[in-house]
Point group: C2
Chain length 374, copies 2
């Protein structure tokens, strides 16, 4: 049995218990999909970068942190302007602790990582959806085809997949796509800030839909068009990997709002009820009072919503404690990677153990670097 | 025991039996590394392309054939000017039959495949070593670092690796690197033609060494320099993946002469005796009277040399039968993939079964296409 105070089930309880039970002791593969959208350049949309100019480096630096335990394209680690560090710190720690293998997938990162990554035929960043389509339809279809083929093939190496993402501004494209698919997510998507800038996100989504003359639900029958015109390439890649692998192994979509948009695309592409798929995220996102993840998931598909507690509220480190105070909250599949580390180790990797390792990495990657810079 | 007429051991018999025995029923991962060298543009060096202009597409098309069961960047499949098809046909068939997962790694393919591939920070094709260094040292070091990190990580997904390559002109760069490392391979490297153009290959290697004022063995202490000045990026990537993964799982270098050059680099980089590594190739290469693979391997390292018989001499198809008559012989890890298919299936996938499937694919991909073109 999976009884453990670090995994909580918010939807589909019976299904979820079975789902989780099935993963204990199994061998997962973690896939981080990195991408950029120019929506992130709009003021006030995201704090995923210490300075506006650094935001576009965040997915790349997250990938490098995962692969090499340090960033190569920027000094230090990605952080908010006031120094809260990237969730990649959590993910890298959890994966390393549990010896979980990973792949980095590029679905349109503006700067390519100085690390091995799987190319899917995406080029640079997706466009700002207010001004034009995110990407041409043929690029979306190519990325999806490659992602699906990768998923089908790579599923043979593992018992299940955990799919995380890094794309600054991604909750806004998620909002627009959810709306186009028929889920009015306005005012319900999460944010990496305690003061959720719903008015900016909603106005971006509204303007983009107006540009296309699309109303809530208008693109429910055309998920590729929804992603191409209003979304980003991360969601296309993750949807493709999921649909490719779901035939043979279970998939954990590791994230909040953005993974609900991916789930929406998957549901509409598959055209059937979804099995062996769950959303797994941190409790910080699920408990975010400025958003409603549980409602979003329940509107999208009958799948388990599982949350983990990274235990950062107990941290002595200010930058980590902030996660429990509404900052950052999730990203880079942090929640899913903690769940996977606990599951793979049959819960011998505990919340305090993970926190201890995260703090050690924080000391090396954030505090020491700060001292050098000061 | 592994008793099977399709696996023959040519060196290190006791070690080899143990090595093979250990792999039966285990789960491998196949990695195809694709690359180009401008050496292939020199007349008479290679027949890996129906026309000279198509040679550079061969690695890309091989990768696509593996991933999608058909090529996307060229029509039909890569072939010699007289229509002998690429060994990717064999590899794709064996991997599919045995449900073996694979990854495509790009180590400087001139044309990037329309398929998912792992980028290692290599750019385009390596230079012609007669005229200049194959690649800058910093590129070689970057590709190696990324490859080693990929190997270390991906080894966690599998019980062993099978590493194949596709790089037209690669036996000539292999020759030059072996010479620089101290193994005088002149007149001993294999060829995809029955009339082995040793004089051209030797003259390229000699001229390249003269350019650098390097004599046999002069770069034995500097394998990176040997690869950067006289080699190609395929060998750097495969050496890196091997050294990254060898700490935790066994590795089959799937190929002939070119894998001996990789083995030479690995030996000199590791600076210790090598365990859990073997060379596995088709009997067509091992029995090539115009070359001496057994001698090359024994001069390089005390590792098993294992050969498989793809059984193509029994084929009714002219293009396949030609493999047994000295054409093509090997490539794209064909020999290793057949061995792996047999081992994974505990020999329930037999030589006739593989041949039957290869012939079916030949009918679809070569004969039908020809009829359409005719």
């Amino acid at each position: 049995m999976f009884v453990c105070n670090n995994l909580e089930i918010l939807t589909e309880k019976a299904k979820s218990v079975k789902f989780i039970d099935h993963l204990i002791g199994k061998k997962p593969l973690f896939i981080l999909t990195i991408s950029n959208t120019k929506v992130a350049e709009m003021p006030g949309i995201t704090v995923a970068g210490a300075e506006p100019e650094l935001v576009k480096y965040t997915p790349t630096a997250d990938a490098e942190l995962l692969q090499y335990g340090e960033c190569k394209s920027i000094s230090g680690v990605p952080a908010t302007p006031d120094g809260k560090p990237t969730p990649a710190l959590i993910t890298a720690t959890a994966l390393r602790l549990a010896r979980i293998p990973y792949l980095i997938v590029d679905a349109g990162a503006e700067i390519k990582p100085r690390a091995p990554y799987v190319a899917l035929g995406a080029e640079g960043a997706a466009e700002n959806i207010v001004l034009k389509d995110a990407a041409p339809l043929h690029v979306v279809e190519r990325v999806f085809e490659n992602a699906e083929s990768l998923g089908r093939n790579i599923a043979k190496t593992s018992d299940y997949l955990i799919l995380g993402e890094s794309i600054p501004g991604g909750t806004t494209t998620a909002l627009a796509v959810l709306c186009a698919l028929g889920i009015d997510a306005r005012g319900k998507v999460s944010s990496s800030m305690p003061r959720n800038p719903h008015h900016i996100k909603t106005s971006v989504a509204n303007e983009a839909m107006k540009r296309l003359n699309v109303k809530i639900g208008d693109l429910a029958d055309d998920p590729f068009k929804a992603a191409a015109s209003l979304g980003d390439l991360m969601m296309v890649a993750v949807a493709g990997i999921t649909l490719g692998s779901l035939g043979s192994i279970p998939v954990l979509l590791a994230g909040g709002t953005q993974m609900v948009a991916v789930l929406g695309l998957i549901r509409n592409l598959a055209g059937r009820s979804l099995k062996r798929i769950a959303i797994c995220t941190t409790k910080y996102v699920a408990e975010d009072k400025s958003a409603d993840l549980k409602w979003l998931v329940s509107q999208t598909a009958k799948v388990p919503l599982i949350t983990t507690d990274p235990g950062l509220t107990d941290s002595k480190k200010k930058g980590l404690k902030a996660y429990g105070e509404g900052f950052v909250k999730e990203g880079v599949g942090a929640g899913g990677s903690i769940a996977a580390a606990m599951l793979k180790s049959k819960f011998s990797i505990t919340k305090p153990k993970i926190l201890h390792e995260i703090e050690k990495n924080y000391e090396t990657l954030v505090e020491k670097k700060q001292r050098i810079t000061d």
